[in-house]
Symmetry: C2
Subunit: 253 residues, 2 copies
């Protein structure tokens, strides 16, 4: 008997970003799995079991959800943002590849969501309006040299950068080093957006320049967008400025 | 008197991906603007005016929506996917920068949505599970040489690539040239996902390799994901294979 596993993106904090498909997936589940703080965002329903887990236990969490689904349950594994972007979908695929053959028979659905960079970009204007990269600054799962090579390649080729996982208590210096690296490729005036806890009550969006960007403005809940040389800032009297990257690579004279 | 302009992402075709915030923005509008086929996806409500426009008229469409908002209307400008990713948000910012000062006083809200690459990735597994780039293959607004430089930089540095606007009747050769370019960086077996019209009745998702990838599999409604050298395919008896990029850059031995 094989059940179903839905890997569900809740979007960033605001419930108005939870899609109807994600709502339906949560409602029909027998069992909910997820990192505790994300699971806390899901309303309690009678008859559903809840299985919160700690952070940085992705493979174990995926395995527990797959085990429950293989036993016949309808399981929802929740993630913030989109499950496919630095979240649980890859861990589930990895667990399936390495796990028992029965896990390949599970009815698996990945339910997309609004990922953090889209929400932060929306608050700032349209900084991702041209070609861009999404890069995790965490060197827990890749060498720091790989991250630097990707910063060089992306900034050097004119991509805007969305930086996920910019820093944590265990990774205090990486963001500063990334900014220093990006300053060798980009003008001092390049716009930088710090989007913290977007969609939550404690949301804070700050716009600065690459020259002024300080690691103190970021924490684990922050997503950072670093513009390209083409990214522009439009002042608005009495309103926050707009940051956008023009659709055309070279602006007409 | 200044109204409000909401730039609303409808997500890909499936209405179950339309967020509650987007639904509310559509419901409260006096006037709806957008590319005709996108506007056709929005239910007709009494008391709302509708202003469809042709494709490739982004700045004129943004200007018309801003003009209506500046005159006091609550305006919704709809886009497919997310407004900030190769869509209307950048055109609106550009129009505001170049337009009359009154446009800077408009209450502007960008309402994020599920962008196509997230929906296609969800259908395939987790191909965007590690660092990735989003790149438009349209050379209408940038030189082809810039696109080739970005393909080289992204593939050479190990990013997965999401290719928007892969081809059209007016741009028939660009995708083939992009595949040829990527073959100089990536193994023949690199997984490639063609996601066409995802979320619509005529959805079609195909998984192939970079060696086998053919431009005939794509059209204007297709989003293509090209893996990195690390991207893997997991066979599932009786089910479509899973394509995923491991969270770790180098897999443990």
């Amino acid at each position: 008997m094989s059940g179903r596993l839905s890997v569900i993106g809740l979007g960033p904090g605001d419930a108005r970003w939870l899609t109807p498909e994600a709502q339906a997936g949560l409602a029909e589940a027998d069992a909910l799995f997820g990192y505790g703080p994300y699971l806390d965002r899901v309303a309690v329903r009678a008859g559903q079991t809840r299985h919160p887990s700690d952070n940085r236990e992705e493979i174990a969490r995926a395995g527990a959800a797959l085990t429950a689904a293989a036993a016949g349950a309808r399981v929802a594994l929740v993630t913030a943002g989109d499950p496919g972007v630095f979240a649980m979908a890859a861990a589930v695929c990895e667990a399936i590849e390495q796990g028992p053959p029965a896990w390949r028979a599970i009815d698996l659905a990945i339910i997309p969501g609004v990922t953090a960079m889209l929400a932060v970009a929306a608050r700032a204007g349209a900084p991702l309006g041209h070609d861009f990269c999404a890069l995790s600054l965490s060197d827990n799962l890749k060498p720091w040299e790989t991250i630097e090579r990707r910063l060089d390649a992306a900034a050097g080729a004119g991509f805007v950068l969305a930086l996920y996982n910019p820093l944590s208590r265990a990774r205090p210096w990486q963001l500063g080093q990334a900014f220093a690296r990006l300053r060798t490729h980009l003008p001092d005036a390049t716009p930088v957006v710090f989007g913290r806890a977007v969609g939550r009550d404690d949301e804070r969006v700050r716009i600065t320049t690459l020259a002024e960007a300080a690691t103190e403005a970021a924490d684990m809940a922050t997503l950072i967008i670093v513009g390209s040389a083409a990214t522009r800032v439009v002042a608005r009297p009495g309103r926050t400025p707009l940051v956008y990257t023009p659709r055309a690579a070279e602006r007409p004279a």
